[in-house]
Symmetry: C2
Subunit: 458 residues, 2 copies
């Protein structure tokens, strides 16, 4: 019986295991994870901390028992410490019993994910300095938050945005420290600024955003509890606890040590079938590099949605179905209070720096017919390559429905749309859902006109 | 100075006028309408009747004064009675003054729209039998509704769905008479049934749906006020008023009389540039036939969103820019209470009857991560052509966000997607917006698997 070993229990590994077990009952599937839980939604943690989700167990998508019923053997608290690609074995360390065992495989799937990046800040080992990755992290942060008045978040990305709202909603005074000029660096500066304006305009009483700033030191009391964060620029910010959300690093070390070839930012390099350079070794999920469909370059956009797609592809390929993964568009969405922030493809900034000649437009419009009482504003920016007239990316923020507009642009970019093709989109219209001319078509029309005018002038 | 005459003041005519006036200041633009208002949103009328919109004037998109400022001359209460294509004139009848005038044109745009279809029912001229087309219709229905307890709606299409809710919300007992087996015949029967189940399950106390039934006679009292509707099947339904929403007919008579060539259901036949067979005569909006991108056949899907696109194309072409209109996908969306019903492309029923070999799947899933407290169910049906594996259509209903899924499918169909392409859509994911695997991808996976299984078996 063919033996498939899957290392990692986040999203990609469990998906590969579940799909493979459905496709083929004659495969012996084992999943090893160093955690005491498999298949949970890390993306749901900010909403648990916020208090929107009361039972953290609801973030568990599938229990070990459910996997066992499907014929997948789950090994918890079991950390893979070494891959031996020549004799096709992995070394597993049992965290509870301290035992080491050697396990053989016919096919190996590396889905070891990523871990929080810890920036070089002094005294990072003080108490009440957290990262957010596991269910236990979520529980600890929520518990500490409920006893606190002040928090500092290091980093201003997607997770920070959601945590920021979780804390603000719970009346915690929050300071965010972001070294870039703006939060959410997948956005162009003017869009990032709109997000900051919304946050400060509505919750400036308890939220402070420190951009272009870096933390240099955590200051503790006699009990080694953090009580303040010192910035490089000198300022000292009092706090009851800290969350470090400064990005992540891929857990690719054991793969590299086994002779595996890495890609950007130490992620694992895979081909379109999700195969690594090591024989019979696949990789998927947050640990692998993603081919970006618009930039035509490898990048790293670790997301649960992508991890699920890749896990499925790995299962199909192990089952001999030769399926390839097309790549990603860097699509992201995040939420602060009533504000949705979504984007896909390339920002204008990135496009200009990477060989494109971007032309863009931005509109602020109602998301529904203007006379509908619940119509909300959305600001939509579309980026197009001037010479090919192809869509490069879109960014949208607003209390209205921006998510659906970005989803539509995703389909258009993946279809190699030119900007004028957008004008023909027969999106379903009724007053509760959009204006007669959707803002997406409006912004496309503006760019189309700009290109036409530029063509006439040059 | 080139003189452009536009006949019709709904959506397409005003759009053509506004766009043309922006493109070229050296054109003399005149718009004639038989109504006392231009450029209003008829689609908003059900929401005015419901009471969601308090001021009917908010449905007016642009006033005659605003048009005049832009250089467009608006002629209200001015009905075009004849087109003389040989000497390039139109005859205009002023409804207020009873005057007839002859107006010359260099280019004529016919945007005469459509009018309600009145089915052959006896005594249709009784009082309190309404159709819904103009602002005045909306005002009259709302006024009558507020003094009534019971209503009958003849016809079970999109408008009926919205009126049904408008009346139910205002505690009016409503009977709907629909001659087909189900309401909303753009849906497959099982989807139509789900809509009816929702309506009757939640509001069965005041709503009755009579499918497979036809009204044969209106019964009046001595004052010629309608008091009941008699069905062909014998039943008599008491009512205080009636709305006939049994479809529409195109106002294409003057065009036909002038030698114009018609298309399906007496709509005006146009080429991709929106030109008719008459020299220098364009047509756009509800009065023209629409090329259906999936069925490759002309059809008739009169919608304000399409009218706007076509009006724009007409303006560009009059200005010499040679732009073509790609066609429509029969995309529609409507709302009853919290339920959204949306569809695009071909239903399975239509596809099977028109030369395709449809294969379909239907899923009911949460629209957001299942653990989010505001996650709502959506039911999504996807229709694919078995041999080409291309997407043919989608239908979705639910209290969750179905509109965005159909919008995404629209972009995919317009890009000639195969069902497997859908599996790669990098839709932006976060728990408040979708499950990690969007229901759209789930239903595509099921069809993909069905096709694979069928391939293995045959």
């Amino acid at each position: 019986m063919k033996k498939v070993i899957i290392i990692g229990g986040g999203a990609a590994g469990p998906k590969a295991a579940a799909k493979l077990s459905r496709l083929n009952k004659d495969i012996d599937i084992h999943l090893y994870t160093d955690l005491d839980v498999v298949s949970y939604s890390a993306c749901g943690l900010p909403f648990y901390i916020e208090g929107l989700i009361s039972d953290i167990k609801s973030l568990i998508i599938r229990t070990p028992e459910e996997f066992e019923k499907q014929g997948v053997k789950i090994h918890l608290n079991a950390k893979c410490t070494k891959i031996n690609p020549n004799d096709k074995t992995v070394e597993i360390f049992n965290i509870l019993t301290n035992e080491h065992i050697l396990v053989s495989y016919d096919v190996l799937v590396i889905a070891t994910g990523a871990r929080p990046f810890i920036p070089p800040i002094n005294n990072v080992d003080l108490n009440n300095i957290f990262t957010l990755k596991t269910l236990n992290d979520g529980i600890k942060i929520r518990e500490k938050m409920q006893k606190s008045k002040k928090a500092v978040i290091i980093g201003g990305g997607n997770i920070s945005i959601e945590l920021l709202w979780a804390f603000a909603k719970n009346n915690i005074e929050v300071n965010v420290i972001e070294k870039s000029p703006h939060m959410l660096n997948m956005l162009d500066p003017e869009m990032g600024e709109l997000v900051e304006n919304y946050i400060l305009g509505n919750f400036g009483n308890i939220i402070k955003i420190h951009t272009n700033k870096e933390a240099s030191e955590f200051i503790g009391d006699n009990n080694k509890n953090v009580i303040a964060v010192k910035l490089k620029e000198g300022e000292v910010i009092d706090t009851d606890f800290v969350v470090i959300a400064s990005g992540i690093v891929p857990n690719s070390e054991i793969f590299k040590e086994a002779g595996g070839i890495l890609s950007v930012r130490d992620t694992i390099k895979v081909d379109t079938y999700m195969q690594t350079n090591l024989k019979d070794v696949y990789a998927c999920g947050d640990v692998v590099a993603n081919y970006n469909i618009v930039s035509h370059k490898p990048g790293w956009i670790p997301l649960a949605s992508t991890a699920n797609k890749e896990g499925r592809i790995v299962a199909l390929n192990i089952n001999g179905m030769k399926e390839s993964f097309h790549g990603v568009l860097s699509s992201v969405v995040t939420k602060f209070h009533n504000l949705t922030i979504a984007s896909c493809g390339l920002s204008e900034t990135y496009a200009a720096q990477n060989g494109f000649t971007p032309i863009s437009a931005m509109v602020t419009k109602k998301d529904k017919a203007g006379y509908m009482p619940d119509a909300q504003e959305i600001t939509l920016k579309l980026v197009v390559d001037y010479y090919s007239q192809k869509l490069l990316g879109a960014q949208a923020i607003g209390s209205g429905d921006v998510h659906k507009r970005i989803g539509t642009v995703v389909a258009c970019i993946m279809s190699d749309f030119r900007v004028n093709d957008l004008l023909h989109l027969d999106l379903p219209y009724a007053p509760p859902y959009s204006p007669t001319i959707d803002p997406l078509l409006t912004v496309a029309q503006i760019i189309s006109q700009k290109i036409y005018n530029a063509f006439k002038q040059n």
